[in-house]
């Protein structure tokens, strides 16, 4: 084994140098995100498996067609597009914060971190509204020959196939798995958004206290940024699997 001359006290990765010209923390953040991608991937694929095994699945445009303060107006895809744009925009402000961090511009980092936090809170509020709407919204459904009013929960799905009943079309109970998967996956994603907001708030406070200026670099903002962008990345796929197809 050749032993290159390494200055005493150097402990870079303990092997003498960073193999990827990147800091240990950032590399490990990437590997964490990769494993998280597999968790989300497994959830979404399991949802796909169940969906493929059913003869009937719920039409998302029929379930997600409302907008706050719009009453019963039929607006498919409208609310979820708003949520998507909120998240994309908060991703932009995050990457701008990282950019300003590279230039050691504390004031700008503070501004963009604050905008990112507000974007995250706005997204969570939208999700809270949507969950409430699903969990409390009553829909007519034909159960064992008589009409009932059901909410959408993990055990009830009022968006099944329609049958003729007393001369008009009435929905029957749909696959239960719809509610379970919807609340499980958007809930797990929402939890990631929530923890992302917490991380961003911590970073904002640390920026304001000047910790990163003392340290000489804003790499923590970059790592928090990686996590935040990942949340946006997952939403792109949740958006696809639950709302678009």
């Amino acid at each position: 084994m050749s032993t290159a001359a390494i200055p005493a006290g150097t402990k870079w990765w303990n092997g003498g140098r960073s193999p990827f010209n990147t800091s240990y923390g950032k590399v490990m953040m990437w590997y964490f995100l990769m494993s998280d991608a597999f968790t989300f991937g497994a959830f979404l694929i399991s949802y796909g498996t169940i969906r493929f095994s059913q003869n009937y699945w719920v039409d998302p445009n029929h379930v997600f067609n409302s907008f706050p303060f719009a009453g019963h107006t039929n607006l498919p895809l409208a609310f979820v597009s708003l949520m998507t744009f909120i998240l994309i925009f908060s991703s932009v402000t995050m990457v701008l914060a990282v950019h300003e961090g590279h230039k050691m511009n504390r004031k700008a980092v503070e501004k963009y971190m604050l905008m990112t936090i507000i974007g995250g809170i706005a997204f969570l509020s939208c999700q809270a509204w949507e969950w409430t709407h699903l969990l409390t919204g009553q829909h007519e459904v034909l159960v064992n020959g008589h009409l009932e009013y059901w909410n959408t929960t993990v055990s009830h799905n009022p968006f099944g196939p329609e049958v003729m009943f007393n001369g008009r079309e009435v929905a029957t109970p749909g696959p239960i798995a719809f509610g379970s998967y919807f609340f499980e996956i958007t809930g797990f994603h929402g939890f990631h958004v929530f923890s992302g907001v917490i991380i961003n708030i911590v970073m904002y406070i640390k920026t304001k206290l000047g910790h990163f200026d003392q340290r000489g670099h804003y790499e923590m903002i970059e790592k928090a940024g990686l996590y935040w962008h990942f949340v946006d990345l997952v939403w792109v796929f949740v958006f696809l699997c639950f709302y678009l197809i």
Binding site: I50, N61, H102
Partner: protein
């Protein structure tokens, strides 16, 4: 050399010559892709509303939406997460394991499809016939009210 002194082991410094132009360009690109996706989503919605939905067309539109989603994912990871400017070998340690998804998706969706076929044919013992397992009341429709 004002900053980037994270550690002497790291010699990489981000390139800021283009300013924030690339970030905004990516933002508009992502927005455009999302708008196209929404357009396709609305097209699927309108096809479903019609008398005889064209299944092939719906499938084609859904496929296009999937491809656009992968494009969005690429831009987020490559530009926003700066993976595109990392060392190539590092990119490979992230991207190569994700190739497992190719098998993962095909195998499991295939499994779901086969599950449906088995159920619709009673494990192959009868002709393929769709049964709505949750639509029990269908038998007592039409004036079944007492």
């Amino acid at each position: 050399m004002s900053q980037h002194t994270i550690s002497p082991e790291i010699t990489f410094a981000p390139d800021h010559s283009s300013g924030t132009k690339q970030i905004w360009k990516t933002f508009w690109l992502l927005s455009l892709l999302t708008v196209i996706e929404l357009g396709l989503g609305l097209a699927i919605y309108n096809i479903h509303k019609g008398e005889h939905p064209n299944a092939t067309l719906v499938l084609a539109f859904k496929g296009m939406v999937c491809i656009l989603t992968l494009a969005k994912a690429y831009y987020i990871v490559s530009v926003f997460m700066h993976l595109g400017s990392e060392v190539r070998n590092f990119i490979m340690t992230i991207v190569v394991p994700l190739a497992l998804f190719i098998w993962f998706i095909i195998a499991f969706l295939w499994d779901g499809e086969s599950w449906k076929n088995l159920r619709n044919t009673n494990g192959g013992s009868r002709e393929y016939k769709k049964t709505e397992q949750h639509a029990a009341p269908a038998a007592v429709e039409q004036g079944a009210k007492d």
